[in-house]
């Protein structure tokens, strides 16, 4: 009778003899629980030291949502700060978007972290900062485009919160999967300015508050395994408002990539790191918002524009191009109609300027039959 095979031994470099229980998604190493945790922490430590992310004595705000990434980030930062004596003053910073049944519950998880890790917690709300909660916004604009409002407001709210507590740096729980997805999204949207900077481990250095991503090279699956191994409590419900449809496709693609070809995640990040915009391409210049003083490339920052839209009832403001500009384009196209066509129907041309309507119809019918 064939002997049943047990789990393979831990592949840790320290020569551990425990049976392996976890396969690390990043490099496929099979490790036992404690060695996996240590390996994960060493990875983050390496990222922090190689990129000189912090200075001794700095006050660092940890963006905490109560989800897996920020919970793991807070735990790892505290562990490494104690173990390697970074000398950092760590503080938790949460944003209450005002989503009943979602954010109020996740903030309870952050509150638990505050007690367990002994880190001070500051919570800022959208209502206090902008006069609107996400529930109010969704009631006003519906479920379409609400992620645009939430994303813009949260980014600015975190900056304002960090200033409030006197932090000199803000760390967020963006992981490798998030980074890969962002690189892809920026290519798909043609946002070259963001594409150039989105993989930087520290962004916003030109402003007053740099943002760092210590989990940049950690795979999402490893973060979940780390949270489980260390029995961290986190909130894992998806936002109750519909997720951004377009990003959803990119997310699914990145997840499929990770299953079929795991190194594609780090390769996507590597691609983003190697990209820079050609000199001849015009780029937006950074200015100060006329209304609130926040950095922007326009006269008004996006958050002020969105609030203006909400307060005046023009909810498309800052979300999509105005109908006026669309109308102008349509009219311009209409006036050029004759110039655009070839003007000849001799070759059976059925384009807009063809003279013979019957030939037009005939060609259209032929094209329809093709069923491309």
């Amino acid at each position: 009778m064939e002997k049943r095979r047990g789990p393979p031994p831990c592949q840790s470099k320290e020569g551990c003899s425990n049976p392996a229980k976890i396969r690390k998604a990043k490099d496929g190493a099979q490790l036992c629980g404690p060695c996996f945790s240590r390996n994960f922490e060493d990875d983050v430590h390496e990222t922090i030291t190689n990129n000189s992310l912090f200075k001794r004595g700095e006050r660092v705000a940890i963006g905490a949502s109560g989800g897996k990434d920020s919970t793991v980030l807070a735990y790892v930062m505290k562990t490494l700060n104690d173990r390697h004596d970074y000398g950092l003053d760590l503080q938790l910073l949460s944003i209450d978007e005002g989503i009943k049944g979602y954010r109020d519950d996740s903030l309870l998880a952050v509150e638990k972290n505050r007690v367990e890790y002994g880190l001070p917690l500051t919570i800022l709300s959208y209502r206090d900062l902008y006069g609107w909660t996400m529930d109010d916004i969704v009631a006003k604009i519906g479920k379409k485009n609400n992620c645009t409002f939430c994303g813009v407001f949260r980014r600015q709210a975190l900056d304002r919160g960090a200033f409030k507590i006197g932090a000199t740096k803000l760390v967020t729980g963006h992981n490798a999967d998030d980074m890969a997805e962002t690189v892809l999204m920026n290519v798909l949207r043609g946002d070259i300015a963001r594409l150039e900077r989105c993989t930087n481990i520290v962004t916003g250095e030109e402003g007053d508050l740099p943002r760092a991503k210590p989990l940049k090279y950690c795979f999402e699956r490893d973060i979940v395994m780390y949270a489980r191994t260390n029995q961290l409590e986190y909130f894992y419900t998806e936002c109750i408002y519909a997720p951004n449809a377009y990003r959803g496709y990119a997310r699914k693609y990145v997840r499929d990539l990770e299953k079929v070809h795991p190194s594609a995640i780090l390769d996507l990040i590597r691609s983003g790191e190697k990209v820079s915009v050609k000199k001849e391409v015009e780029m937006p210049t950074l200015k100060i918002c006329e209304r609130c003083g926040y950095m922007t490339s326009q006269k008004m920052c996006k958050a002020c524009l969105l609030i203006e839209g909400l307060n005046t009832g023009n909810t498309d403001l800052g979300v999509r191009k105005t109908k006026k500009s669309k109308k102008v384009t349509v009219e311009a196209e209409g006036s050029n109609k004759e110039e655009n066509g070839c003007g000849s129907s001799k070759g059976g041309c059925g384009c807009s300027a063809a003279a013979d309507e019957t030939e037009n119809e005939e060609t259209r019918k032929r094209l329809k039959d093709l069923q491309f």
Binding site: Y249, K278, V281
Partner: protein, 314 residues
């Protein structure tokens, strides 16, 4: 209208990039791979050469029929079909049929007409491809070796320019594949009109034309019948390339029609952060800056059993 647009596209590509400013270097290898895009390119070049006004395309073409099927019977069928097509397009120019296995040649060769050059190297070529155990890298290796083959043939014929029938859909997918393989910095060279290498230039005149446009044009102008199934059809294994294909299809089905255009436009505006350092190029892919092999090509080498890649980089 569509007809004149297609010709215009090739003229614009040639003029904007000043590809033919040197009157002595008008010899160009026109690659015909049997696809609708390949047939479209042939018809466009044929038309452009027949023009008598300033619209005439000033090139001296040599048509290269690129074969990747491996069955001798199928290769013979391709040769027979090429004879027929030759009587329709570019009859007066040189036609060469070569198998992708020509990439295995280590030195310049004399290419004969009316035979499939390099067919004797098919087993050796298959051996290299099958030595790669990871499907994504296997497909990438095929792509890289195809370019190597084009360069080898062009060098043997003392031609420095090569027009390939890659259309917008092919290049959009390639851009995303290359992003996922870590070659993001080289996207501009890989998917735009011009890809200048040391002594070789790849020209992609159809980079702004979609497959759909080409299909409509071919149907209306009766070019459909000049397509040949030259490429090897394989059982699809899951790879980055197959995932990208289904990802783009999903987006198009969901009416995000401009995805390909946006990806290609983005690719044309970026370059490698280290592009100022004019260092040596990767010996396998020729696009990334590296002393010997770039990171992606090193990964391909590691995925191959034995020293099968070594012969290409010595």
């Amino acid at each position: 209208m569509l007809h004149s647009n297609g010709q215009k596209q090739i003229q614009i590509s040639a003029q904007q990039e000043k590809i033919y400013k040197d009157a002595d270097a008008r010899e160009t290898l026109i690659v015909y791979d049997g696809t609708p895009s390949g047939a479209f390119l042939l018809s466009q070049i044929d038309d452009a050469l027949k023009q008598i006004t300033y619209k005439r395309l000033m090139v001296k073409p040599t048509v290269l029929v690129m074969v990747s099927v491996t069955d001798p019977m199928e290769i013979q069928l391709v040769l027979d079909r090429v004879k027929e097509i030759k009587s329709v397009f570019l009859e007066s120019v040189n036609w060469i049929t070569a198998h992708i296995a020509c990439c295995m040649y280590t030195e310049s060769k004399v290419f004969l007409e009316d035979v499939c050059n390099g067919a004797e190297l098919i087993p050796e070529y298959n051996d290299v491809i099958s030595s790669c155990s990871i499907p994504t890298y296997q497909k990438e290796l095929e792509r890289v070796l195809k370019e190597k083959c084009l360069q080898m043939i062009a060098n043997s014929l003392s031609i420095s320019k090569c027009m390939v029938p890659d259309d917008a859909d092919d290049l959009g997918r390639l851009a995303i594949d290359q992003l996922c393989l870590g070659r993001g910095g080289s996207l501009s060279a890989l998917v735009t009109v011009l890809d200048k290498r040391d002594d070789f230039m790849l020209i992609r005149p159809l980079c702004d034309v979609s497959k759909k446009e080409i299909s409509i044009y071919n149907h209306l102008c009766g070019i459909d019948e000049h397509c040949i199934p030259i490429a090897q059809t394989k059982i699809e294994t899951k790879s980055v390339q197959s995932l990208t294909d289904s990802f783009i299809r999903t987006l198009e089905n969901e009416k995000f029609y401009s995805t390909i255009n946006t990806v290609l436009s983005t690719a044309s505006k970026i370059h490698n952060t280290n592009s100022s350092k004019e260092g040596s190029r990767c010996l396998l892919c020729f696009v990334e800056t590296a002393d010997t092999l770039c990171k992606t090509c090193l990964a391909i080498q590691r995925a191959c059993t034995g020293d099968k890649i070594g012969r290409f980089v010595r």
